[in-house]
Amino acid sequence: MADASYPEDLKYHPEHDWARIDGDVATFGITWFAQDALGEVVFFDAPEVGATVTKDESYAEVESVKAVSDVIAPLSGEVVEVNPALEDSPESINESSYEDGWMVKVRLSDPSQVDQLLDQAAYVASLD
């Protein structure tokens, strides 16, 4: 498992999710803190492409051997892509939570919501 890290180019949701913003599309995933608390991920229950996700609400489930957790959407929109590699390699969520372990790409319905997210410094401060 990689060491703790929180990239500066991401936006963060207090429920330990990140968003990488690219115009009106954002990539979502969970933070190092979240995957560490969860332990080894063995199953990612993904939404369908085309599904609507709502900021602050669950859009997927991620399961470790022992527990299941909801994954919270940091922003609202429509799922345009699901990371196909997670079906066979859900452990990427642990091993590469910001790169290979990305979960979905979402076309944002309200890009102004980005302003409500935390930057890296504010999120890291919230973990103390």
């Binding site: 332990g39 080894e40 063995v42 199953f43 229950d45 051997v65 022992k66 299941v68 079906e87």
Partner: protein, 359 residues
């Protein structure tokens, strides 16, 4: 966040922290749920050897000329069959055939037996033993504080434990007494993982050194998480999940451990359940998912039934579990549908055990 002030700690608590454990409240104890990760610890037990601190489990010692007769009265199995140095699995039943606990009993001498209880049931079991001991020439002793308990499990467990103790281990389901660092070690050829291995009952003061010696010999510390996934693959029951006072041992698939002819407390109700009059009409079956998903205890079986234990099987790479289903759905191969938080997942009734170690 619940208070941890009332929780008990085993003599190995500091060792768990030193080994990087994540410690959680369990049955009134602060216990390690994992060290390096459930999956890795699970696979270490399947491929080499792991050690579990199971000191939260309790012990009751029954001593006296009528010890066997007394235990025969309350334990479901045929206690007369336990030879000195032997062991036996049995169920403790209520008068109406509900399950109070499931237990291993070791016969240490002609008239000395040691029964291992589940942590959360120990006080209840002890009171039950004492209640029924009246009229028998026996002494029932709470031996909880006399022992720490380590389970060393896996294909390499016997070889390593034998080297560490400098002692030739008793065979499966047999017991023996070793001396290690001037302390008595009760060695039992039992376990809860489906692997070969032993359980060691030692004075609490000796446990940390024994733990260190086992780790130094290459044994992987394994937590409650791996203990649970291993026992589910082996289809061993967990009291509180798969067994309760509301379920009879026949429905739970423990008819093999019930010898009604001995006249144990609850034997009439158990005999009635065996004859087809189970008040619940359900049978506990192992199942595996045939597609994605992970079952969890409490999930419903569509059309009737309940999952009582469920997990992701690290050995098989699929969702597995134990479920009470209507007798008509209990045949091996019967397709089941499990409702996992609103999503219907296909499964099938499987043979026991779900994972069998290669010979």
């Amino acid at each position: 966040m619940s208070s941890t002030t009332d929780l008990r700690r085993t003599p190995l608590y500091e060792r768990h922290l030193a080994a990087g454990a994540r410690v959680v409240p369990f049955a009134g104890w602060e216990m390690p749920v994992q060290y390096v990760g459930v999956k890795e610890e699970h696979l270490a037990v399947r491929s080499a050897a792991g050690v579990f601190d199971v000191s939260h489990m309790g012990e009751i010692r029954t001593v006296g000329p009528q010890a066997a007769a007394f235990l025969q009265r309350i334990l479901s199995n045929d206690v007369e069959k336990i030879a000195v140095g032997g062991s036996q699995y049995s169920v403790l039943c209520t008068e109406d055939g509900g399950v109070l606990d499931d237990l291993f009993t070791y016969r240490l001498a002609d008239d000395v037996y040691l029964t291992v209880t589940n942590a959360s049931n120990h006080a209840k079991d002890l009171a039950w033993f004492q209640r029924w001991a009246e009229g028998f020439d026996v002494t029932v002793e709470d031996a909880f504080d006399e022992f720490a308990m380590l389970a060393v499990q896996g294909p390499d467990a016997r070889r390593i434990t034998s080297q560490v103790l400098g002692y030739e281990l008793p065979g499966p389901f047999r017991t023996g007494g070793a001396i290690w660092n001037d302390a008595d070690v009760l060695v039992a050829g039992t376990g809860y993982t489906g692997e070969d291995g032993v359980e060691l009952l030692v004075p609490p003061a000796v446990a940390p050194d024994l733990w260190d010696a086992l780790l130094a010999a290459g044994v992987q510390p394994a937590g409650l998480g791996a203990r649970d996934t291993l026992r589910m693959e082996a289809c061993f029951h967990l009291y509180g999940n798969d067994l309760s006072e509301d379920r009879d041992p026949i429905g739970a698939g423990l008819g093999w451990a019930c010898k009604e002819a001995t006249g144990f407390v609850g034997s009439e109700a158990v005999a009635a359940a065996r004859a087809g009059g189970s008040p619940h009409g359900e049978k506990l079956v192992p199942f595996r998912f045939t597609d994605k998903g992970i079952p969890r205890g409490g999930n419903d079986v569509v059309g009737g039934g309940t999952v009582t234990s469920g997990t992701f099987s690290p050995s098989l790479g699929i969702g597995i579990g134990l479920a009470y289903v209507p007798v008509a759905s209990a045949e091996v191969g019967t397709p089941l549908t499990i409702d996992v938080r609103g999503r219907e997942r296909p499964a099938e009734v499987a043979t026991k055990p779900l994972y069998k170690r290669p010979n």
